[in-house]
Symmetry: D2
Subunit: 366 residues, 4 copies
Amino acid sequence: MAANTFGELFRVTTFGESHGAGIGVVVDGVPAGMSVDLDAIQAQLRRRRPGQSELTTTRDEADALEVLSGLFEGRTTGAPVAMWIRNKDVRSSDYASIRDVFRPGHADYTWFKKHGFRDWRGGGRTSGRETAARVAAGALARQLLARLGVGVLGHVVRIGPIEARTFDEAQIERNAVRCADAVAAEAMRAAIEKAKGEGDSLGGVIELVARGVPAGWGDPVFDKLDARIGAAMLSIGAVKGVEIGDGFELASRRGSEANDAILPGGFASNHMGGVLGGISNGAPVVVRIAVKPTPSISLAQQTVDIQGQARVIEVPGRHDPCICPRLVPVAESMLALVLCDAALRQRALAPLDMQTNSGARGGDGA
Amino acid sequence: MAANTFGELFRVTTFGESHGAGIGVVVDGVPAGMSVDLDAIQAQLRRRRPGQSELTTTRDEADALEVLSGLFEGRTTGAPVAMWIRNKDVRSSDYASIRDVFRPGHADYTWFKKHGFRDWRGGGRTSGRETAARVAAGALARQLLARLGVGVLGHVVRIGPIEARTFDEAQIERNAVRCADAVAAEAMRAAIEKAKGEGDSLGGVIELVARGVPAGWGDPVFDKLDARIGAAMLSIGAVKGVEIGDGFELASRRGSEANDAILPGGFASNHMGGVLGGISNGAPVVVRIAVKPTPSISLAQQTVDIQGQARVIEVPGRHDPCICPRLVPVAESMLALVLCDAALRQRALAPLDMQTNSGARGGDGA
Amino acid sequence: MAANTFGELFRVTTFGESHGAGIGVVVDGVPAGMSVDLDAIQAQLRRRRPGQSELTTTRDEADALEVLSGLFEGRTTGAPVAMWIRNKDVRSSDYASIRDVFRPGHADYTWFKKHGFRDWRGGGRTSGRETAARVAAGALARQLLARLGVGVLGHVVRIGPIEARTFDEAQIERNAVRCADAVAAEAMRAAIEKAKGEGDSLGGVIELVARGVPAGWGDPVFDKLDARIGAAMLSIGAVKGVEIGDGFELASRRGSEANDAILPGGFASNHMGGVLGGISNGAPVVVRIAVKPTPSISLAQQTVDIQGQARVIEVPGRHDPCICPRLVPVAESMLALVLCDAALRQRALAPLDMQTNSGARGGDGA
Amino acid sequence: MAANTFGELFRVTTFGESHGAGIGVVVDGVPAGMSVDLDAIQAQLRRRRPGQSELTTTRDEADALEVLSGLFEGRTTGAPVAMWIRNKDVRSSDYASIRDVFRPGHADYTWFKKHGFRDWRGGGRTSGRETAARVAAGALARQLLARLGVGVLGHVVRIGPIEARTFDEAQIERNAVRCADAVAAEAMRAAIEKAKGEGDSLGGVIELVARGVPAGWGDPVFDKLDARIGAAMLSIGAVKGVEIGDGFELASRRGSEANDAILPGGFASNHMGGVLGGISNGAPVVVRIAVKPTPSISLAQQTVDIQGQARVIEVPGRHDPCICPRLVPVAESMLALVLCDAALRQRALAPLDMQTNSGARGGDGA
C-alpha cells in the first residue's frame, strides 16, 4: 500500500482531481487473456455518476470510460490496465469564494496543514469524484471474481433514523436510494428531500455481501481479510465505521450466542460475517459501514480562513444531500478489490500439493 | 504490509506460536540514537500477560523480554530491533483431545481450509498469545511517539450489556477490567465472573484516545489515517468492528449536527475523532472497537472434525472469560504502531520548505 | 515494488504500449508546493525521443507531454502527478507478418510463455517506448534532487569495440552518440552507421555520475543504495550488467589498491563509486551499465512460431541500430528515481535530533 | 522491500549483529505442509561459516541453527519460520582500539554519517556475519525450489588475476576456494595465502547457475527477473558488479552475435543467461558477480576518526583474506530467494486457465 495505491498483487493506483482534467486509474496484476466487458464497467460507473437521480448533485458527468492501455483485441495482456474518465462539467468559479476558507467536515483544513498548499477547486484530490476511479477498477475486479464464482452486492440499510426492515434484492436498483426494502426506501427518499430542502444533509449505513467466497482467503496475522476490508472501507471519504458480521452487536453477547456452530453442511449461522480468524470460512462475507452526513451544507457554519481568522461559511457548489446511494457501488468496488487481491494471494501461497481454491476451474472452492 | 508484517516505514514483523518456543518481533525503521527504556516495555507486557487477575486465564507466563538485536549501550543503532518472549507454561496435552476437531468461533477450521495443515496446540499461530509481540513493538513505538509529544490511552467502555457512564482516567489501571468508571467496573467484573461460572464468556467495547497528534498525519486516498487504524484494529483476533469519532452514531445525524465547527483556537467539537479526510486535524484521535466474546467456552457446542463428521465439543484449556481487559494494551499498541508509521511518513513527504511536524524539536505540532 | 511500480516513497507507476494509445506514468510521493518546470521535462523527453538523429529509428514521435493530474497553478499539491504521452506514428502493419513468430533477443517468446497471450504490435508493453514514461518521471525527480543540490549525468563510454579515452562534459550533447570524447564519438558514429548498413546492430557501455549526493543515503542491508541502483538499471530492457565504482575491475585488485583512503577533507580516491556498505559516502556516485546490441536486425535469424515450428525471420519495422544514445536519458532517469526515493527515506528515518541531510536547506549534506 | 526485508511473497527479514547475541531471520510466505530438512539447512550454514578452511577468518562459530517458530511435526504450517544462530566466539576487545576510527572500505564511516551512532563491535549490523541469516533462509528456499525442479549452483571463476579455465562441477566442494577448475583452484589458494602473508587481501568473481527454471518467471517492467537478481546480488556487502548471461561482453558484440537463435527444442545458445525481456526463457539462469577484496587489511592505511582528525589504521581482528569462497553459498542463497519469490508470484498471476508453471507437479516448465 501507499497513499494512492491499494492492494499487493491486484494493485490499483488512482490519480486525478475533481476539477482537473479527469480521474484515472492504473490496475496492475490483472492475469492475462481475460476478456473484458467494457459495457459492464461503464454500467458500474453509471451507478456512481452524479446526476443519476433527484437525490444527487446536479453536476452532470457522463463519466465515459476511456481505456488507455492493457487491452488488446478485447482481452487483458498482462500489462497494466489504465482507465481514464474525463471531467466535463467543471464550474470552479463556484469555489472561488471559498478558496481561502476551510469548509467544516472537509479535508480542506487538514490537507492544507499537511501539504502547505492545496487545490481548492471542488476539493481537488479529496473530492468524492476520485471514487469514479475505484468503481472502474472494482468493475474489472468483479469480472475476475465472477470467473471464480464470487459476486458482490451492496444496499442501503439506514438513512438518518430510518432503517430497512425487509430484504428483497430485486428492489435495490429500482429505487434511487438503493434500499432492498421498498417501503423504507420511500421514507428514506422523503427524508433526504426534506433535509435537502432545509439546507442540510443525512448519513446512513450500507451493507455489503460477497457470495461464493471459498474458505481460505485472507492472511493472518496482519492481512486478515477483515483487516483489509476495514482499510478498504475506511479509505472511502465519508465512512467513519465498519463492522464485519454482527459487529458491534457482538460486544453485548455471550460466547454461546456469538459462536457459529459448524455442521457437516456448513455453518449454522453467520454472526462472524464469513470471516473467522481473518480467513474466509465459505459463508457469505457480510460488512456494514457507517456513512457520515455530507459535510457540504448550505446552513451557516463557523470556520476559519487560511490566516486563522474566524469566518462564517455557507458552502456553495452542487452537492449530494446524502451520499449513501452513490456510495453503494463505491463500497462494493472496494470489497471487490480486497477479495481479488486475496484470491490472487491464495493462488500464490496455497500448499504446493493443494488444488488452489482460486484456480482455473473457477471457484468450486474448498 | 504482508501477512506477518505491519507498517511501511516503522515496520513490525511478528513470529511465534502459542505452544512453540516463544513469541518474537522484529521492528525495522527505528531511528538511531534513541534511548530505549526496557522496563517500560516490560511494564506494557505485564498489562497484557495472562494470569494478571482473576478475570484472565490461569496460564502463568511472566512474559520476560529478551532483546536479541538492535540496541547498543542502551540506544537504537539503526539496525532492526528484535525482541523475544519465551513460552514457559505450555500444556499442549490440554489440546490433544481436540487435535482433529474444529473449535467454533476459532480460526481452527479456516486455517485448515487455507493451509491444509495446522499446529493444533493452543491455536498455534492464531492464538491471542501472538499479541505479546505487538505489545512489545507498540511499547517501543510509544517511546518514539512520546518524543513527538504523543500519548496513547485505552479503556473498556462496555462489557456485555454494561456501559461505563463516567470517565476518570486515574481509575483505569486500578480495576481488573480497565474501566474509567469505578462503579461500572465493579458491575463489569461481576458480570464476567458470572459468565465464567456458567461456562460462558462476554464481549465488550474498548475506546482508544491518542493525544498530541499534530495536524497532518495520514495519507489520502488509501492510506488515510482512519484506514490504517481500521486495518490495525481488525487485525486483532477478536475485533469485529471499528469506528472513528462518533462512528455509527453519525449515520443517524444531519450534517449540521455532525460537522465540527472550526474556531481560531481549534475545533469546537470532535465528532470526527481527530481525523478529517483521512488526515489528523490536531484534535485527539478517538477510536472504538467491538470485541466479540471469547469463543472458548466450556458449554457444549456443535462442530465437525477434519473428516467433516459432526461432533460435540466442550472446549478444554485455560481461557479468558472476557478478553477486553487484556486487549486494552494490545489495541493501544496497534494504534501506536499506526501513528509511528504515519509520523515517519510525514517526515519524508512534508513540503521541502516546511518544518516537519514530527521533527527533532518534538511534537510542537502544526 | 511491483511489476509496474518503482520506488517506495517516491513511487513511479508506468503504463501503456508501443502501439496502443500512448505511454503514461503516475508519480506518487512528490512533496507539495514544488514548482514544476514542464519545459524541462519536455526537454528530457526530446533527448530520448525517436528520430532525434540519423543514428535512431525513423519512427517520428514528438513525445509531447500532457499533465493529467497533480499540478495546480504550476505547483505540486501532494496529489499524484500523472503524465501522458500520446503515440502518433504507429505502423502496426509492420508487425503483422510476425504476429505468430518470436523475434530472437526480444521478450516475444517469454511474454507469451508467461501470459499465454500477447500484444504483438511493436513489442506491446515490452517495447523500449515504455521508457518515455520513466524519462518523464525521472525529469520530475531531477527537479526535486536539484533542490537538494544533486545532479545526474550520463554519457556513452563504449560502442562495440570503441572506447572513450577523454572526458569533456561539454561534448556530450554535441554529438549524436552522447560521448564525452569528441574523437571517439566520431568513430562510434561511423561504427553504428556501418553496422546499420549491414543489417546488424551494436551494444555499448554507459557511465552515470551523480554529484552532490550527501553521505547517508541508502538502507542496509537489502535496500543498499547499490542494490537499488542495480535493480533500477537491470529493469531497463537492454541492460545486462551493472557495476558501481570500479566494479569488475575490483575483482582483480588487492585490498590495499581498492580501499579509498579517508582524509579530513574527504576520500582520496573513488574506487567504491560513492557507495560504502550500501550508503552514499559523499563522493560522486558512479555507475556503469552494459547495453546489449539491439535485437531487431534485418539479417536472417532462426526462430520458432507460436506452434513451435522452425522459422526464419528478418525483423521488419523501424529500429535503432544502437540504443545507447537514447538510453542515456533513460538510465539517468532511473538513477534519479533511486536517489529521490533514498532522499525521502532518509528524511523519514534520520535520527530525531539530526538535521536531515536531505532537508529544505538543500544538499549541504553531512 | 524495506531495509531489512527482501522479497514480496516469499519474504525474508533478517536481524542481528556481529557481536550481539546472534543473527536471526524470519521467513514469511512459505507454503504450508512442506517437510523441512533442517540438516540440509545446517549443511548450507557450514559452507558459509568462518573457520572452515585455512583461507578464512579464524573466528570459530559452529553457526548451529535453532528454529524459533513456524514448524510443527517437521512441516511448515503457514506461519512465519524464524531461525536463530547464536554468536559464540565474540572478541569485541579486538575492536576497542578502533571504536572512534573509521576503517577504509567499510561501512563504518557511512553508517555513522547516516545514523549518528553506531555499534563499532565487529562492524555491528554491517558485518558479513549477517549473511548467515540469508544462507538459512536461502536453504529453506532451495527446498521449495527443489520441489519445483529448480537447483542453484555457485562457483568461483576468478581470484585476483587468476581465472578458472575448465568446469568440473564435482571439483567445486573439493577445494577450499570453491572453484570448478582444480588446477586454477590451487593457484588461487596460493595467491590468497600470499596476499594474507603480506597483510593484504584479494577479490574475485563468482558465477551462479540456476537450472530447471521454467519459462515465465519475472515481471516486467520493473520486477524483471534480472532486476531482482541485480538487487539481490548488490545487497551483498562486498559485491560491486553483476552481470546476467554474457553481461559486459555483450557491449562489444553485434546483434547477430548476441541474439540466441530459437530452435524447436530450445535456444541454440545462452548469451542472455536465461532471461529475455526480464522473464526466464527456460535456459539456465547465469549470473556473475564482482567481489571486491576484503577491506580489512593489516597494512597501514590513512583514515579519520569521528572528530574528523587524520589517523593511520592497521585493522585488527580476524578476517578473511578473500571472502569469495564463503560468498558462494551467500550468493546462491540470494539467487534462490529471488527465484522462490518469482515462482510464487507466477502462481498468483498466471492466466486463470493456464496450468501454473510453478505448480506442484514440479518444474516441467513451459
